[in-house]
Each structure stands twice: as C-alpha cells, then as structure tokens.
Amino acid sequence: MARIVGIDLGTTNSLVAYMENGRPRVIPGRNERAIVPSVVAMTDNGLIVGDAAKEHLTRNPERTVYSVKRFMGKGLADVQGELAYFPYSLTEQGGVIRIKLGEKTYSPPQISAMILKELKQRAEAHLGESITKAVITVPAYFNDSQRQATKDAGMIAGLEVLRIINEPTAASLAYGLQEKTQGTIAVYDFGGGTFDISILKLKNGIFEVLATNGDTHLGGDDIDRRIADLFLTEIRSRHGVDLSSHPDHMQTIRLEAERAKIGLSDALKIQVSIELPDNKGHFTRELTRDQLESLIMEIIERTLTPCRMALKDAGLSPDAIDEVVLVGGSTRMPIVRQRVQELFGKTPHCEINPDEVVALGAAVQADILSGGTTDMLLLDVTPLSLGIETMGGVMSSLIRRNTTIPASAKEMFTTYVDGQTGVDIHILQGERELAKDNRSLAKFRLKVPPLPAGVPRIEVTFLIDANGILSVKASDMRTGLSQSIEVKPSYGLSDHEVEQMIEDSFKFAKDDVNARKLIETRLDAGALITTTEKSLGDGLHLIAEEDVAAIRAALSALATAQEGNDPRAIRARIADLEQSAQRLTVAMLNDSLKRGLQGKKVSDIT
C-alpha cells in the first residue's frame, strides 16, 4: 500500500509527518524547519506559500492570506465581527466565503489546498516517492461543514483524505506511543485559532474519547489582537496617529504583538518598537509579563469553561484525571500552564514539542490505517449533537454529542396529506434548543410516492462516519427500495464545485509553467543537496581534501540559488554540484563494489 502521511493543517503553522520504523517523524523543508507557516501570498511571480509568503504579510497585506482556517466551512455572516482584522477582502458565494486575491477569488479550501500542496511536495522531495494519501487533523470541535471543507481542500490538493482526525486525539496517540501512558488523560489543545479539550481513557492500546468540548474561534490570534489593540490605542493617544486604516502597519503591529507574546513566555519584560508612517518616528514601550497576563486573562478563562463541561459530560471530577497533556503553541505561555495546573491539580505534560505533536499523532493514525500499527485503536466521538428541525423551529436531537463514532440514527417519516410527494428535512448540528441558534448543515427533500396520507413509510438513516462527517440514506419500508439523497450543504462547496476546483488547480499549474518549473527545480535541488550531504558524510575519507572543499562550495552555491526565483540559475548550480561530486560518486561506487565482493564467495560472482 502507498505511503500515507499525517498532516497538521493549522491556523498559524502546518506540518507533515510520516512513520519510520515505528516512530513518527516530522518532515523538514530545505531550511531544515518542519513548520510551514499557513500563509499564502499572491505575488507578481505567482502564488507562494509558507516562509516566503510570510514576508509578504507587511509588504503586500491585501494579497497575503493568513489564518484561513478560521473561514473553513463558514459563510460571511459567521465572521462579520472580525472582518476588520483581516487586510484581505472577503466576499461570499453560494454560502461559502471567497477570498479576493488580485483578479481571482478563492474559497478557503482552495487556499488551504495550496498549503497542503506545499506539504505534499515537501514530503515527496523528502521521501522520494509520490504522495497521494493523507490523514489530516482538524480541531475536535469542528462541525460537519468545517470537516467537509478540510476534506475538500485535500482533494483539491490532489490528496485522498483517508481520515479526518481530531487534533487533541492525534496528540494523545503521539503521547500514548511514546510515553506508554495509561489511565484517564485530558488533552488541552490551545492553538493559533482554536481551542479544544478532550478527555480520553487509555487502556491496552485503546484510546477511548469520553468527552470533548471547545471553541473553534479562540486561539493565539485572539491574544495577538488583544495586544495589538493596546498598541493601537496607545499609538493613537501618544502620537495622534490612527493606524487602523493602514493594512501594512496593522500587520506590523500584529506581528510585533505576536513577537512580544512569544518573547514573554521566557522573559519577564520585552521592548516593543513599531515604526510609524510619514517619518513620525517609533512607538516604543516596555511590556511586562504581568501586564500581558492581566490583558489576556479573560481569554485564558474562556478556555476553562469548555474544560469543565467536558469533565461534566465525561462524568468525572478534575481529580479523576491522571495526566494532563498540553498541545498547541499557545500552551507555551506560563499563565496558560498555571491555570491548567490549577484546574486539574496536576503538573501538565509537555515533553513532546507542542507544535509538532499533532502532526506526529496524525502520522501514527496514518500508520494504523495502512496496517502498520495494529495494537492501537482510537475511538473518537462526535463533538456536537446532530438533529433535525421540528415544529416551532425547535431542534430535536438524533445523535447526542460525545457519541462514539461511527454512529447512526434512524427516523421514520410519513406524509400528512393525500398524494404528498415530498417531505422537507433540515439537518442541524449544535446544543441549543432553537434551530436558528444551531448550525444548519443541510436541507433536502425526501421523495415520497404519492399515496394516501400516512401510508408511505420512509426510513431515513443519519450516519456519522469515523471522520465525524454526516451522510444520509433513505429507504422505502413498503418497497424495500433505497433512495439516494442529494444533500445540499448549507455552508459548503457542492461536489461539482470541488471537481471544478480540482480541474482548475491542474489548469492553473499548467498555465503557470514558470512557477511550476521553479518548484520542480527547487525540489530537484533539495533532493540533490540531501543525497550529496549524505554521501559526503559516508565517503569523506575516500576523496582528497580539495575535492571535499569543492563539493562544499558547490553545495552552498546551490542552496543559495535554491532560495532565489530563477529556475535556470538553480539548474546551472545543480549541474555544477553534480560535476564537483562526480569523483565522490565514483569513489563510493568503487568502494561499495569492493566491499560487496569481499563478502561473497567466488562462486557467487562467476
């Protein structure tokens, strides 16, 4: 079976990992960093992703997309309150947000697909094989539309998404594998844009999720905003400058706020400096950890309510939790660790890098799916109740939250009027009593044969698969015939749209031959650098010192060229390196041939 990789598609950063000899590993890029910032920029040379795109945040804010995960599976009305914070412009089409980048608009799954493609190529370059299958993580509290949007992103990127897995449970797999944890654990996952808490029971390789809760709109982004708002207010009162209408300066402030926040996880105070426009000098101030903590205390407190609710749903008191695991970059803040420790009454674990643990867990799940790991099994739950709208706009639950998935519920429908040929069904997800306060997932019309009222009996089955994604089946109990139901998602791309986007993604790639050539050349360069470095390590003793120096020089020249945007320049340096390394290659071949012969009998050779 082809290799399956695990992908953490994060709000701020994304990573790809794979399983090697029973251990999950993250895949580093050319710059040796495993993290790909989840940023996509439209430049004059085409679309760029990751570290390079991050540089465009301040240079080119209107055409640089970050935190796109916040828009997955959403309509414009859902994010009305925070539109002002984003420099790029958003519209809506068919219930789905669209992001305007230059002439074209892109749906959030398309932008996410660009990040996924970057990860895919990175994995392909590293592993030297084509990657077409992946496990992708999502926040546990993601609803059906958000999960579906993530799956769509995978498809657009040319990846078959074999499983959507919850981030906190992925983290528990990584911990379970590495630390051999047993008992009841709580995973506190505070990332860039979302917060999740999951409570699991680990026993004999089974990871049973007892309850999960969270907030898909609460993360490090909100902390940065709080700090940025402080700076903005102070700049206004101290310098009389309102920067809120300057997208590029807003980005500078946001990044400076982020830098201060990160710095204050280690330091007790930090100097802040922001350059003001029109030669007005700099805004400077000192920010202390105490000031930061009182500024964001309210946000930290907001994570504790879901924790208490999850405990309640699991029927457990805080002292019943044996271990607490911290996941996500925001858990690096001492105040977060302190509040979590106070709530659960024990020191939380953070042995595995909180930025990498989710991707590592996704790789473990990928290995389970490919049949590699057989002693571990994750039994996850659906985070939100699923139901249908009933009389008076009330939601009636069919599958309760925290039900183990896969799950199914059956409901019998009939008619009230003679000859009625359809029944409208509105599917909802959420915990509120009224339909309008819950998430509308889909509406569909159940086809019914025209018969006297009450005679038709259509059994509708609602299924939630292991990805937490809903499907609907219906069968006529009188005839035994099943009917396929076309469910129009309320906040998602239609199948047709996704197909179109997959086609487009290939077409654009073809249109943009240069960009494609550049990417491929860079990949070739990366692969050559990796193999040459390895050979150099193994065969150092086989060649003369000046040959080694020549190879090292060619290596560094190629590395520099690879950072640039000219595919021809990279090709030239590739040729140079191949030339310089030729003696090494020949020496190593001879050496291995010699050693190979030594180990064999003469009869084997002849």
Binding site: M1, L162, R163, K203, N204, I206, E208, Q365, I368, L369, S370, G371, T374, L377, L378, L379, T403, T404, I405, P406, A407, S408, L463, D465, A466
Partner: protein, 238 residues
C-alpha cells in the same frame, strides 16, 4: 457465541440469525467472521444488543466485562482496520461499528439497559401499560405553577426568596424519591436475573415475569417524570 440466552429467545429469531456468508455462500450462524473465508459478516438486524455482546439477557452487567468485550469487538469491526479491504467489507465494518457503539451506549447505562430490555420484551409489556400516577402528576403540575410564579417574581424580594426556599426543599425531596426508585429498580434487576437463571416454564414463573416487567415499567416511568421536573427545577433555581 454465547448460547445461554437460547432458552428465552424464540425459534424464529434463531432461524433469522442463521444465514449465508455474503462472500463465499457458506453457512454462518451468528458468527461475526465466516469460518471458511474469514470475511466479516454484517451484524443481523435481528440481533439484539445483549446477543451482540454475547451476553445473556440479564440486567446486572459487570461494567469491566462489558468494556473488555466492547474493546475486543471494536478491534474486530472498526473501519480503521478495513482501509485496505473491499468496499463491501468497509461498508459492513462501518455498519457493525455503528451498531456496536449503540449497543455499548445502551447496555452501559442501567436505565437505558432496562428500557431496552422492556422494548425487547414488548409483546407482553404493552398490554400491561400502567395507569398514570395521578397524584404525582398533580404534584408536578402544582410545582410547575410555583416555578412559574418564581420566574415571574422579583428574585431579590422576600417573596422571591421564600419561593426559592420552598423550591429548594421540593428539589431535595424529589431527588430523594428518585434515589429510592433507583434502589427499587436495582432490586427488580436482581429479581429478574434470578427468575431468568431458574429458567422455569411454569405459569407461576410467567406471571412473576409479567409482574416484574410491569413494575419495572412503572418505576421507570415515574422516575422519568420526577427526573424531568427536577431538571426543570435545577434549570430555574440553579
């Protein structure tokens, strides 16, 4: 599979459980995997949750044993382990896992477990539908009036405070009653299991069976009424 339950299930059900392997057409009788081709078999719609777990139809269940069996069957059915199998097997795995999860959820909780047993034994229980407990209903409706009064009142006022105290006292009494009912149910569980273990087919055993079922139904119903008014109380006075 466990065959202890056979004395209480009817012959028709047994016949339904006997069927052919979807893949190699050899006979499978209730097993989850075909003896011959080792393909997973769909859990029959006729299989009740007790049978699905290989448990007899008893009301006292050891939670540890139930969990162990649930984990064992999850390892057998979970879609994670069918990723490389045929589409048919994947779909069977999905269906079986969903059924298994429902079964575990139902059997794990004593109240859901007995409700389910009453559904299974419905044939005779429907006829013994008990008369509604009029006194309890009057009490509930009166309490609801007091709740409405409290909702309309100024909570900080003396009258509001007084109503609150009254309601709190009511809540305590009701919670005590609920606990009593649960103790009563425990006793009925034991009685039911003992009767089933004896496995007698006498008319005396049959009438004892009907009495137990009827009493369980009644206690359960009353518990539900009490529980729903308690929930309302808790939601209103916190």
């Amino acid at each position: 599979m466990d065959h202890q339950h056979t004395h209480s299930s009817n012959p028709r059900e047994l016949q339904m459980a006997r069927s052919m392997c979807w893949h190699c057409q050899s006979e499978v009788s209730g097993e989850y995997f075909c003896d011959r081709c080792v393909k997973v078999q769909p859990v029959s719609k006729e299989t009740d949750y007790f049978t699905c777990f290989g448990f007899p139809r008893r009301l006292t269940i050891d939670p540890g044993k139930l969990e162990a069996k649930f984990y064992e069957l999850s390892r057998a059915f979970h879609p994670d382990f069918y990723q490389n199998k045929s589409e048919t097997e994947q779909s069977i795995s999905f269906g079986n896992a969903a059924t298994l999860n429902s079964a575990y959820r139902t059997l794990r909780d004593p109240i859901q477990r007995v409700e389910y047993l009453l559904d299974l034994e419905a044939g005779s229980v429907k006829e013994i539908r008990n008369s509604p407990p009029a006194d309890l209903f009057e009490e509930i409706l009166e309490l609801q009036d007091t709740l409405d009064e409290y909702r309309a009142s100024d909570r900080a006022s003396d009258a509001g405070q007084q109503l609150r105290t009254t309601l709190q006292a009511e809540q305590q009494t009701l919670e005590e009653r609920k606990r009593d009912m649960e103790t009563q149910l425990q006793q009925l569980f034991t009685d039911w299991d003992l009767l089933q273990d004896r496995g007698e087919a006498t008319s005396q055993a049959r009438s004892e069976r009907d009495r137990l079922l009827k009493q369980m139904r009644e206690t359960l119903s009353n518990r539900t009424y009490v529980k729903s008014i308690i929930n309302d109380l808790v939601a209103t006075i916190g």
